[in-house]
Subunit: 191 residues, 2 copies
Amino acid sequence: MRLPAAERRQQLLDSAVGVFARNGYHNTSMNDVAEAAGVTKPVLYQHFESKRELFRELLGEIGDQLRDTIAKATAEAGGPRQQIELGFRAYFAFVDDHNDAFRVMFGAGTRRDEEFASEARKVEASVAELVADLIEIPALDPQHRLLLANGIVGLAESSCRYWLQFEVDIDPEELASQVSQLAWAGLRGVG
Amino acid sequence: MRLPAAERRQQLLDSAVGVFARNGYHNTSMNDVAEAAGVTKPVLYQHFESKRELFRELLGEIGDQLRDTIAKATAEAGGPRQQIELGFRAYFAFVDDHNDAFRVMFGAGTRRDEEFASEARKVEASVAELVADLIEIPALDPQHRLLLANGIVGLAESSCRYWLQFEVDIDPEELASQVSQLAWAGLRGVG
DNA sequence: GGGCGCGGTTACCGGGTGGTAACTTCGAGT
DNA sequence: ACTCGAAGTTACCACCCGGTAACCGCGCCC
């Protein structure tokens, strides 16, 4: 089935997310990606310079989407408590309907390669910064604050992993509400 | 330099932790491991059936150590609040002086392979179970409880990753105290 | 309707890696 | 001092995978 370049390119990216999510970067060959898209390898190389570049592009796309989603959601909040609630809600909703994307970005095979890991960290960092601002403990220097904020981000990530992994029957909103409650109470309690 | 079998085997395992921690499973060849131990590849195969088996053994060893460490620490606690404090203290102390081991187990290149991931999950699960018992919210069914507990474990893991990554200047005990405070206050606040 | 360009394919290369067979050397026990 | 087994090495294979060159054919436009 023949497709115009732009569409094919997007289709390749879409297929790639699925394959990489299932098998990780190293256990996925370019052949696998091509096959999943119903084409052959050279087609892939028509659109992407190399395997790394393809993956980079994927990470970039996902990162931007996630960042946007959260930024938009938290912008509407009336205060810190609501900010954290809406942020988590957006986060879990995103994961709920892009769970392949989540697994590619944070499913962690990604982290082993320094270049890819730094992409994941950039995203985590932007989220963590939002959280860090909510920790109102003057005694804590910024670095400690960021460390704790990072912990909170990890809390969300790891809840997601468990949630997807074991298909726990809970909807994203309730999960968000519980996790944000945990995070909020926790942050109030530090110091 | 010649070594008796048992010692060589242990030395191989020790070298392997370091190499795998630096480069991850897939970016580490058996040659790399052998070279790091000052020996050649076939020697490796004298002691381990395959690359996978070598890595499995590593994960097993690390998992057992971590489990033991935490179990011993929490056994001495007088109540749930202290249990969580001592647990985290043991966890962070372990990571502090086995940080290669931590990175092999949870640094995440590991997670991409189903067999290895399940080993990591087993360890997480045993820790999460300890935590789950501390969530005294009757309204929550066991599965939700485990989900939250898993989040707490992820909180610790991800704090560790950040801590090691950016070499934040904080000693393990203080970190443990802050994280356990966060976790405790958070868990009290859910419901 | 015939040439032309773009979307695709077949078939291949080179290098790296897991894994092995056959040979060498060290040293402990008699 | 000699032997014999354990400890190590060299040199190799087979396979897979990233990447590429050369070729094919559908359909659009004059």
